[in-house]
Amino acid sequence: MLLIPCPWCGPRAQIEFTYGGDAAVQRPSPEAPEAVWVAYVYLRDNPAGPHAELWLHSAGCRRWFKVRRDTRTHDILGSASPGAALPGAPT
């Protein structure tokens, strides 16, 4: 069981959360070329190692936030509110 640190509620059990995917993905501007949109919708870095990702505290405060988690070990390296920077490597 992952113990996920919600920035507002503190560490809570994994079953209170919903996964939201890669946090490094940025929505392009509407004028961006098609290749940029294809990359945004479909392509993922998919790292084996630290991964910045979005989680929703769906059975708690119902707020989104970012987590950095190692995909090889499931170790959680830190969390932050959506606007703040995650500790560790840059997102």
Binding site: Y19, G21, E34, Y42, L43, R44, A48
Partner: protein
């Protein structure tokens, strides 16, 4: 018929210039190879089974191969086997970083089926099921294909409509499908709670009678032995650490056993395809997620088919050893760890007890996980990558085992001829950018939702 009739498989020509090359006769069949039969079994019984030859060699890598396949699981070994068998390409190496069948080939729940709705999937998986049906004879290795049926339970009138639609689509594609009523199911599977007050009431089910199970380890071993007998070099403990590309074309791979030159490189490393493609500078529409499975302690035969429920996210069968083998959903977050977390195990066991209350007397003996390439449309990528000489078969989501023979056959065809076969022509990498996704569930680009 005038002229020379080419070899055919169905209506498809499989003769080609590559096939006409004469393989080196010294590499055709190593002297140690032995045909398995009742006679060889009896002969070896007389010497207490102490003199069986090794099933495959462990050669040192040569400096250059005509083709190199990365990944010594079912898909990679099958690719090598069909390169030799169908295309006469025997100067081929399979590189495996660990041991044969030590990844997802040895971790799946052994189910085979072709009960798909969309045409590309239906044709692909039906081809695979037909290869499964003849595989033991083809490989001279008992892969224990058991056509015990795969039953998808239906829990609501809306589920019923969907199942009927899929069953009809299957029949239109020439695939066996039969709708079963609740009463028929209750008679067939007495352990299943078919009562009206069940937690998940059963309205009926869609059965594919030719679906079933195959012994997963035997698939790796059978393909390895048959590929080795045709001269393929299988090299274990050899991890690929880099892909060397010059002027837009593959020239070889860096490995933990040194550089190996090749102009044709096939990736069969599902779970890690993104990492290998990354060595060639490519980013794929794939995320890696972990799927768990578990087995109970072994008991006498209690379940002689495969039961699945899409609504409850659960599937179960009984192995020949007697264990009940079951699984459910992904863990729903990116993972390369080959192990998962308890909430999913709890969900699977809960679903099991809702459907089969009597199984509550069993213990969970073992749980494990395997890492899956989850693509953005839930369908695989089998074909050419945008670098000359680079090919892949991957993106299997959590359904790769049943695809093994067709994946190997079509990957081999694509590598040998440098063009896809009609059966894998739709499974391109380019389909995402072109808006030609093959989204069986219709959930869009959310890889962990497929």
């Amino acid at each position: 018929m005038p002229g020379l009739a080419p070899a055919t498989l169905g209506a498809i020509r499989i003769s080609d210039p590559v096939r006409e090359r004469q393989p080196d006769p010294t590499r055709r069949r190593p002297s140690h190879s032995l045909k398995y039969s009742i006679f060889s079994l009896a002969r070896n019984a007389l010497s207490h089974h102490e003199h069986w030859p090794r099933a495959w060699r462990s050669p040192a890598p040569k400096p250059r191969y005509d083709a190199v396949i990365v990944g010594g699981g079912g898909h990679g070994l099958a690719t090598a086997y069909y390169l030799a068998k169908e295309h006469g390409l025997t100067n081929v190496a399979v590189l495996e970083k660990g041991y044969l069948g030590g990844g997802n080939t040895g971790r799946n729940t052994t189910i085979v089926r072709s009960n798909y709705h969309l045409d590309p999937n239906a044709h692909f998986y039906e081809f695979s099921l037909q290869l499964w049906e003849g595989l033991a004879r083809d490989l001279n290795f008992n892969v224990m294909y058991s056509a015990r049926g795969v039953l998808n339970l239906v829990h609501s009138p809306a589920d019923m409509d969907t199942a009927m639609r899929r069953g009809n689509a299957m029949r239109l594609n020439g695939i066996d499908a039969r709708f079963m009523t609740r009463d028929e199911i209750a008679r067939w599977i007495p352990n299943l709670d078919c009562s009206p007050d069940a937690r998940f009431p059963i309205h009926g089910g869609l059965l594919q009678p030719r679906g079933g199970t195959v012994r997963h380890d035997a698939v790796a071993w059978g393909y390895a032995r048959a590929a080795d007998a045709r001269g393929i070099d299988i090299i274990q403990q050899c991890e690929v650490t880099g892909i060397r590309i010059e002027r837009g074309a593959v020239v070889g791979v860096e490995t933990t056993q040194g550089f190996i030159a090749t102009a044709k490189l096939g990736l069969a490393v599902a779970g890690h395809t993104g990492r290998l493609a990354g060595m060639a500078g490519l980013t794929l529409p794939i995320e890696t997620h972990v799927l768990q499975a578990l087995v109970s302690d072994p008991v006498k035969p209690v379940l002689d088919t495969v039961v699945t429920s899409g609504a409850v996210h659960f599937y179960i069968s009984q192995s020949d050893k007697g264990e009940l083998v079951m699984g459910g959903d992904l863990d729903f977050c990116n993972s390369y760890s080959q192990r998962g977390n308890l909430p999913i195990i709890e969900h699977v066991v809960g679903a099991c007890l809702a459907l089969f209350p009597s199984f509550g007397r069993l213990n969970v003996m073992r749980t494990w996980g395997g890492v899956c390439d989850m693509t953005m449309d839930g369908s695989p990528i089998v074909g050419k990558l945008p670098i000359k000489g680079l090919y892949m078969t991957g993106g299997w989501c959590y359904g790769g085992f049943k695809a093994t023979p067709a994946s190997g056959w079509l990957h081999a065809y694509t590598i040998a001829r440098d063009e896809p076969h009609p059966r894998n022509a739709a499974f391109t990498l380019e389909r995402f950018a072109q808006g030609r996704t093959i989204d069986e569930k219709g959930v869009g680009p959310v890889p962990w939702a497929h």
